[in-house]
C-alpha cells in the first residue's frame, strides 16, 4: 500500500486500523459527526456506489469506506461511527476517536446539523483539539432555512479557524464546495494551516498542568498525536486512551520516565488547586460546552424562537397519554395488513414462475438422461426449497422493509422507544430495546446487530437474548397461513384480511410481553443489576426521501436478508431431500426421527413431524410449513399447496385441531433462533456461552408455554 510519511516508522509494532489505500497517493478522509445529522447521506452522495463496509479490527463496530475523485486526486472516505463526543464513553466513541488519532487520516470532515448547531459544535471542538486538518460541513442548511434559522458560515469559519462548507446533501447542494475544501486542506503543507484552529483555554491550574506535560509528551509522541490533547486526556485519567496508544503506537506512555515525572508534577499542581479527576472532567466538558454556546450565539440567528412548534405539536399527539400507545399499535396493525394483503398476489405469481422453471429443469434432466437421485437432490431438493423460500419471503420483505424504513426516516422510531420505555424500565432493560425489537420484525439477525445502539453491556445482552421473541419475516408466513386456515376462515369476504392482521398483531403483542417478562427474569437472575443510565434523543421529524428509501431498503435489507436465506436454504434443501429419501426398514430417515420425537411432541400439543420440521427449519424458519406438508404426504420432496383450503384438509386429516394450530403458532413465536441469528449472536457477543443461552431461553419458554396450553386445554376438555 502507498504509505505516506506519517504511517511508516514505529507504528508497525502495534496493529493498526486497517485502511488500505487503493491508489498510491490516495488521501484518507475521516467522516465524523453526531448521529442523525445526515452523515450517511453526505457519505453516499460523495461516494455513490463505490463503497464497502468492513469491521473495525477486534471490535464489532462496522465502518463503511468509499472513494471519490476530485480535481485529479483520489480520496478514500471513511465513515466512522456517529458520536456526540470523543470521550470514549462507548465502543463507538472509542472507535471514532481511535480512527481520528491513529488511522492517519489526511483530513477529517465533521458533519454538523444546521438546525441544531450548538450541540454539534461540541464534537467539532473536540476534534479540533486532536487535529487542525478539519473541514466542518454544516449540513441540512435547507432545512435550517425553512425553519428560519440563519447561520453565518464565514463567521463560523473565522471563529473555528478552519474551513466551513454549508451543504444540503439530499439535494447535492454544496458538495462540490465541500470537496474543494477537502482538496485544499489535504494539499497544504503540514503544520502551516491558514488560520490557526481554535484551542479552548481552560482553568488556570489546568493550563499550567498541561503546559508542564507538553514538552515531555511532544518528545515521546513524535508528532503522532497532539501533545496538548494527550496531556488533557492523561490528566483526566483516560485509561482507554493509554491502552489505544499501547495498541497502535506500541509503547506504554506512562512507563517513559520523562512523561511519568511530568505527569506526577502536573497532578500535584491540580491537587494543590483542589481539582480531582471528577472536577477536572467537569472543567473540560464545561469549557467545551460554553465555547460551543458562545460560538453558536455569534453565528446562529433564529427569526422565530419557536422553530420546533410543529414537532412539539406532533409529539403531543404521538406520545400522548391517551393516543401514544393506540396509535402505535394501530400503525403496527396497518403495516402488517398492507404486508399480508399486498404480498399474496406477487407471491403467487413468483411461485408460478419459479415452479415453471422447475418443470423446465426437470425436462432438461430427463432429456440428458440424468440419474433420478441427481434430479431429486438438485431439483426437488435444492431448487424447490430455494423457490419456496424466495416466493414466500421476497414479497413480504419487499413491502415490509420499505414501510419500516419510512418510519425510521420520518423519525418515528425513537418515539416508540420513548412511549414504551416505562415497560422496559420495569423489566430492568433499556428503552432502545424497543427499536432492536422493531428491527427484529424484519430479521432477528438484523435485530441482534442493531443491539449495538444500546450502550450499556448488560442491557445490550438482554436485548440480544430476547430478540427472537419477536417474530421475524421468515416466521410471518407460517403464522399467517395458520391464522388464515384455522381462525380467519370463519369469516368470508373483505374482513378476512383484517381478522388475520388483528390476530397477527395479537401474536406479536404476546411476543412483546414475553420479551418483557423474560428480560425481567434475566435481570433478576443471570444478568442481575440496576438499569444503567438512560438517555434517548428524539430527533426532529424529517420529510422522508421516498426514492432513497426504496433503493436502500430493497438493496441493503431485502436482498441482503434474502441472499443469506438462500445461502442456508440451498444446502438445507439437499439435506432434507436426502433425509426423506434414504429409507431404513421401509421408513425414511425423516419418519424415523419424527416417530422418535412424537411422544414428546404430543406432550406439548404437536406431533413428531412438526417438531422435526422446526428442527430442520433451523437454517430458515420459512421452510417449516412446507416441511410439515412434505412429511405428511411422504412424497420425499417439498410440496407446493395449491390452496389453503386443501392444505387445511391435509392437516386436519393428520390430526390437527385448533389446539395443534395454537401450539404451532406459539412454538413458532418461541423457539431457537435460526442459524444465521445464532451465528450473528456469537459474532456480536464474542461468546459461545451467551449464544447458547440465547438458544436455550426462547426454546425453554416455548416448550413450557406449549405444555401449559396443551395441558390446560385437555384438562378442560376443550380438545
Amino acid at each position: 500500500m502507498g504509505l505516506t510519511k506519517q504511517s511508516t516508522g514505529s507504528s508497525v509494532l502495534g496493529f493498526k486500523p486497517h485502511i488500505e489505500r487503493q491508489h498510491p497517493g490516495q488521501k484518507i478522509i475521516a467522516l465524523a459527526g453526531n448521529p442523525n445529522v445526515g452523515k450517511s447521506t453526505v457519505f453516499n452522495s460523495l461516494t455513490g456506489m463505490r463503497q464497502h463496509t468492513g469491521n473495525w479490527p477486534g471490535k464489532t463496530v462496522s465502518i463503511a469506506q468509499g472513494s471519490f475523485f476530485h480535481k485529479g486526486v483520489h480520496f478514500l472516505l471513511v465513515d466512522i461511527p456517529g458520536t456526540y463526543s470523543l470521550m470514549a464513553n462507548s465502543v463507538e466513541e472509542g472507535v471514532a476517536r481511535d480512527f481520528i488519532c491513529f488511522g492517519d487520516p489526511d483530513a477529517v470532515i465533521v458533519v454538523t446539523d444546521a438546525t441544531c448547531l450548538e450541540r454539534n459544535l461540541n464534537l467539532v471542538l473536540q476534534v479540533l483539539e486532536v487535529t487542525g486538518n478539519v473541514v466542518v460541513c454544516v449540513n441540512l442548511i435547507d432545512d435550517a432555512r425553512r425553519r428560519k434559522i440563519r447561520i453565518d458560515l464565514e463567521e463560523l469559519s473565522r471563529l473555528l479557524g478552519v474551513t466551513v462548507a454549508g451543504t444540503s446533501a439530499r439535494s447535492g447542494k454544496g458538495l462540490d464546495r465541500l470537496m474543494d475544501e477537502v482538496w485544499t486542506v489535504t494539499h497544504e503543507k503540514p503544520g502551516c494551516c491558514r488560520g490557526s484552529p481554535l484551542k479552548i483555554r481552560y482553568h488556570e491550574a489546568v493550563e499550567s498542568a498541561v503546559g508542564l506535560m507538553e514538552p515531555s509528551l511532544e518528545a515521546a509522541l513524535n508528532k503522532k498525536l497532539c501533545a496538548r490533547w494527550t496531556a488533557l486526556r492523561l490528566l483526566e485519567g483516560d485509561e482507554n486512551l493509554l491502552e489505544s496508544i499501547r495498541n497502535y503506537l506500541g509503547y506504554d506512555l506512562l512507563a517513559l520516565e520523562a512523561v511519568s515525572n511530568s505527569f506526577q508534577k502536573a497532578r500535584k499542581i491540580l491537587i494543590d488547586a483542589g481539582i480531582d479527576q471528577d472536577l477536572f472532567r467537569d472543567i473540560i466538558v464545561s469549557g467545551i460546552v460554553r465555547k460551543a454556546e458562545e460560538i453558536s450565539r455569534r453565528v446562529v440567528a433564529m427569526e422565530e424562537p419557536g422553530h420546533y412548534t410543529r414537532d412539539r405539536k406532533i409529539d403531543r399527539v404521538l406520545t400522548s397519554r391517551t393516543w401514544g400507545i393506540p396509535i402505535m399499535i394501530a400503525m403496527l396493525g396497518v403495516i402488517l395488513w398492507i404486508t399480508i394483503t399486498g404480498a399474496n398476489y406477487p407471491s403467487a405469481l413468483l411461485a408460478d414462475a419459479l415452479f415453471w422453471v422447475e418443470d423446465q429443469m426437470t425436462a432438461l434432466f430427463l432429456s440428458i438422461g440424468a440419474p433420478a437421485w441427481l434430479h431429486g437432490l438438485l431439483v426437488t431438493g435444492m431448487y424447490r426449497t430455494l423457490a419456496w423460500v424466495v416466493s414466500v419471503m421476497l414479497p413480504p420483505m419487499a413491502i415490509f422493509f420499505p414501510l419500516f424504513t419510512l418510519l425510521e426516516d420520518l423519525g418515528y422510531l425513537p418515539r416508540v422507544a420513548f412511549n414504551l420505555d416505562s415497560f422496559f424500565k420495569k423489566a430492568c432493560a433499556h428503552g432502545k430495546q424497543a427499536l432492536t425489537m422493531c428491527m427484529g420484525f424484519g430479521c432477528n439477525a438484523a435485530g441482534v446487530v442493531g443491539c449495538r445502539i444500546i450502550d450499556s453491556p448488560r442491557e445490550r445482552l438482554i436485548a440480544t437474548i430476547t430478540n427472537s421473541f419477536v417474530p421475524c419475516n421468515g416466521r410471518f408466513p407460517t403464522l399467517i397461513a395458520i391464522i388464515t386456515m384455522f381462525f380467519a376462515g370463519i369469516i368470508e369476504g373483505p374482513f378476512r384480511s383484517v381478522i388475520s392482521a388483528l390476530m397477527l398483531t395479537g401474536v406479536i403483542l404476546l411476543g412483546v410481553m414475553m420479551t418483557l417478562l423474560v428480560s425481567r427474569i434475566l435481570s433478576r437472575t443471570i444478568l442481575k443489576g440496576l438499569p444503567s443510565s438512560f438517555t434517548l434523543e428524539l430527533p426532529p421529524y424529517r420529510k422522508p426521501q421516498v426514492g432513497r428509501i426504496l433503493v436502500r431498503s430493497l438493496l441493503d435489507r431485502t436482498l441482503f436478508v434474502l441472499g443469506r436465506a438462500v445461502a442456508v436454504a440451498a444446502p438445507a434443501g439437499m439435506v432434507i431431500w436426502a433425509m426423506s429419501n434414504i429409507h431404513i426398514g421401509g421408513l425414511s430417515l425423516l419418519s424415523h426421527c419424527a416417530g422418535f420425537l412424537d411422544p414428546f411432541a404430543r406432550l406439548i400439543g404437536m406431533d413428531g413431524c412438526i417438531i422435526m420440521a422446526f428442527i430442520l427449519g433451523f437454517p430458515a424458519n420459512e421452510i417449516v410449513i412446507p416441511l410439515v406438508i412434505m412429511s405428511y404426504m411422504s412424497t420425499g420432496s417439498m410440496m407446493e399447496f395449491e390452496s389453503l383450503v386443501r392444505l387445511r384438509e391435509l392437516l386436519a386429516a393428520n390430526g390437527w385441531t385448533w389446539l395443534t394450530a395454537v401450539c404451532v403458532m406459539l412454538f413458532s413465536l418461541m423457539h431457537w433462533p435460526c442459524s444465521t441469528t445464532c451465528l450473528t449472536i456469537r459474532k456480536e457477543t464474542q461468546s459461545w456461552k451467551w449464544t447458547l443461552i440465547s438458544f436455550l431461553v426462547p426454546t425453554a419458554a416455548g416448550i413450557l408455554i406449549c405444555f401449559i396450553t396443551a395441558s390446560v386445554a385437555r384438562l378442560l376438555g376443550l380438545s
Binding site: C116, V289, R316
Partner: protein, 88 residues
C-alpha cells in the same frame, strides 16, 4: 441521596429536574449524578446554568422529554432527579 438532601435544605428554591412541570423552564444549578451517568449528562451539555425545558411526558409518565440546547432528550426520573434546577 444524603448529599441531595443537604442540598435541598441549603437551597430550598432548587428542585430536582424530575419535579419540573411540563411546559416550564429551569436552569441547572447542581449536577449530582456520578460515574457514567454524569458523563452522559455532561455530554448532553447539562452543565451549570444550562437552560432546560420540560416538554412532554411519555404515555406512562416516565421518561420525560426535555429541551436541552436545542435538542430533545428523554430522561428517566432516576437521571432527572440527580439534576437540581431552579425554576425560571
Amino acid at each position: 441521596m444524603k448529599q441531595n438532601a443537604d442540598l435541598y435544605m441549603k437551597h430550598d428554591q432548587f428542585i430536582p429536574l424530575s419535579f419540573l412541570p411540563t411546559g416550564k423552564k429551569a436552569r441547572v444549578r447542581a449536577l449530582m449524578s456520578k460515574g457514567i451517568s454524569r458523563r452522559r449528562m455532561l455530554d448532553l451539555g447539562l452543565i451549570l446554568d444550562t437552560e432546560v425545558e420540560a416538554l412532554q411526558k411519555s404515555p406512562f409518565g416516565d421518561p420525560v422529554a426535555y429541551l436541552v440546547r436545542g435538542a430533545v432528550i428523554a430522561l428517566r426520573s432516576e437521571e432527572a432527579s440527580d439534576i437540581l434546577v431552579e425554576a425560571m
